[in-house]
């Protein structure tokens, strides 16, 4: 059995006097029949793949539709000038989110976290922390277990598929996972981890999946940025001891009920929202001719 509630994880943390990371690791290792060492090794390979993906970004690369490419490079140049509105750390987060999501669109190797379309969110908050040596790699890998635990609860209670729940289920879930991970890394309590996850998801509730021409490019690449930046602000709110009035598990349930009400034209069918704008339709018909 995997976790179906964040409350259940925090209760276990408090009863057994263990960290969020340890509880997730122990349960998954019981289920997979892998030793803790093997689980950590596997998570390490995910982290290594994330780092490699971040390092191998190529600003000259464009997707086969030619709609995506180069923006991560532009942003990196921009933040180097040190006069960005968001400042250095958030600047690096945005840069990393753009680059990872662009690499994904260009058929490069990434880590689905939880999906390929949202693969930029979690690395975007972790890579800058790693590059500025704020946390050890061991600690970051522990944080990835926290992320996976939160993602598992979301997948069990609701969905992590854009076709089922809209973008809130992909970018929303990724943002929620990243927010909880940041709180864990900054030594927040299990309750604060859940608070951050809940804040992050509630802020993205209702986000629709409306990819232009059905491709994981527009608006997906930039949505990775909102997922990552939202995670940072929500983690800070939780660490500031702001407590949510609605528990995170209930936010996840609300996400499910919103997802059910979202029209199918706004769930990865490429028929509504951004995909139904005149310019998007033009793009689609041009690409269809090539297709």
């Amino acid at each position: 059995m995997s976790f179906t509630s964040l409350k259940e994880i925090t209760t276990k943390c408090n009863e057994e006097k263990k960290s969020f990371y340890e509880i997730v690791l122990e349960l998954d290792s019981k289920q997979s029949n892998f030793t803790h060492e093997k689980e950590i090794k596997k998570m390490n390979s995910m982290w290594t793949a994330m780092k490699n993906a971040a390092d191998s970004y190529d600003p000259k690369l464009f997707s086969s539709s030619k709609l995506t490419g180069g923006d991560g490079g532009k942003f990196e140049e921009y933040i180097k000038k040190n006069n960005s509105i968001c400042g250095s750390f958030i600047g690096q987060v945005i840069s990393c989110a753009l680059q990872m999501a662009e690499s994904n669109a260009c058929m490069k190797r990434i880590v689905a976290s939880p999906t390929a379309g949202s693969c930029g969110v979690l690395p975007a908050v972790l890579i800058p922390l790693y590059r500025n040596t704020i946390f050890s790699e061991e600690k970051i890998i522990e944080g990835l277990f926290v992320a996976a635990g939160i993602g598992q609860v979301i997948a069990n209670r609701s969905s992590i598929s854009g076709a089922e729940g809209g973008c809130q289920a992909e970018i929303g879930a990724a943002s929620s996972m990243a927010a909880g991970t940041l709180v864990y890394l900054h030594n927040g309590t299990p309750e604060q981890i859940c608070a951050a996850s809940g804040f992050a998801l509630q802020n993205l509730l209702g986000l629709v999946c409306d990819p232009v021409a059905g491709l994981v490019e527009i608006p997906c690449v930039k949505r990775n940025v909102i997922g990552a930046v939202n995670a940072c602000s929500c983690a800070d709110m939780a660490l500031a001891s702001i407590t949510p009035k609605i528990p995170a598990d209930e936010v996840i349930d609300a996400m499910k009920s919103v997802g059910n009400k979202i029209d199918s034209s706004l769930k990865e069918t490429g028929r509504g929202g951004m995909a139904s704008t005149p310019t998007a339709k033009n793009i689609y018909s041009k690409l269809s001719k090539i297709n």
Partner: protein, 252 residues
């Protein structure tokens, strides 16, 4: 569900369903063919049909047919590699009844003349479902050792097979039964926790009433890839007109 279904897989983008899942569809079809494919006619349905070029679904399925895994950085170049290895590949859009929106139908011919038709869907997060083999319902996700036994619909076949597995300490994780009509053609699909040794497979093949046995272990099976030359006996390769009347464009 494992936490690595949430964090992972490591894959080539852009879409876990349209790219990673599509690679797995190609790869599992290759394992089911048990041969190096030299001819592939691939029909895309639903969302696959609408967006296959932009998502690289065509290149992904081809990569799988060539034996690549979803994280192989050569996936974007698979159409060129297929050409070098003598795999002729055609894409078309098909209409299916009651199919998942991300479905593909693969008609394959192997180097030794083996043929198979696989209908499979990409059901999200890179996971797949093999829906039909040669037109017969099977519905398994190819994540565990899978045994497919075709037999005449008579009492005792299920007992025979399950007893044999029990005697060999092979635990059955799931089991499905299908038949076309009472007393007609029946198929059992068993997923097992342990792999099934070849001698047990041949024992099942020899049971009276068993028509055909297919077994794959997606965790360990590898069909060694080789640079296959197109066989001189071209009769094993159907002509485009015979097999794929709808195909207008040939990617080769």
């Amino acid at each position: 569900m494992s936490i690595f279904d949430i964090l992972g897989p490591v894959m080539v983008g852009p879409s876990s369903s349209h790219t990673a899942g599509a690679v797995r569809i190609g790869l599992i079809s290759r394992l089911l063919l048990k041969d190096n494919p030299v001819y592939a006619d691939i029909g895309f349905y639903g969302s696959f049909a609408a967006t296959y070029a932009g998502h690289g679904t065509d290149r992904a399925v081809t990569a799988g047919l060539l034996g690549m895994q979803p994280d192989d950085i050569q996936i974007p170049n698979s159409l060129e590699i297929a050409k070098q290895r003598g795999l002729k590949i055609f894409f078309s859009k098909v209409d299916l009844q009651n199919a998942h929106p991300n479905t593909a139908v693969l008609n394959l011919v192997g180097k030794t003349g083996k043929r198979i038709t696989v209908q499979a869907s990409s059901i999200g997060g890179g996971r797949i479902m093999i829906n039909k083999i040669d037109g017969i319902d099977v519905n398994f996700n190819a994540e565990m050792p899978t045994l497919i036994v075709h037999n005449s619909d008579q009492p005792g076949h299920v007992a025979q097979v399950t007893t044999l597995l029990f005697e060999n300490k092979i635990n059955i994780a799931s089991m499905q039964l299908y038949r076309n009509e009472r007393g007609g053609y029946a198929v059992m699909v068993l997923e097992t926790d342990e792999s099934i040794p070849p001698e047990i497979i041949s024992q099942i093949e020899n049971y009276t009433g068993v028509i055909k046995v297919t077994y794959i272990n997606p965790l360990t099976d590898v069909i060694p890839s080789e640079s296959v030359a197109i066989p001189t006996n071209t009769s094993v390769i159907p002509t485009e007109a015979e097999e794929s009347p709808k195909t207008k464009e040939a990617h080769q």
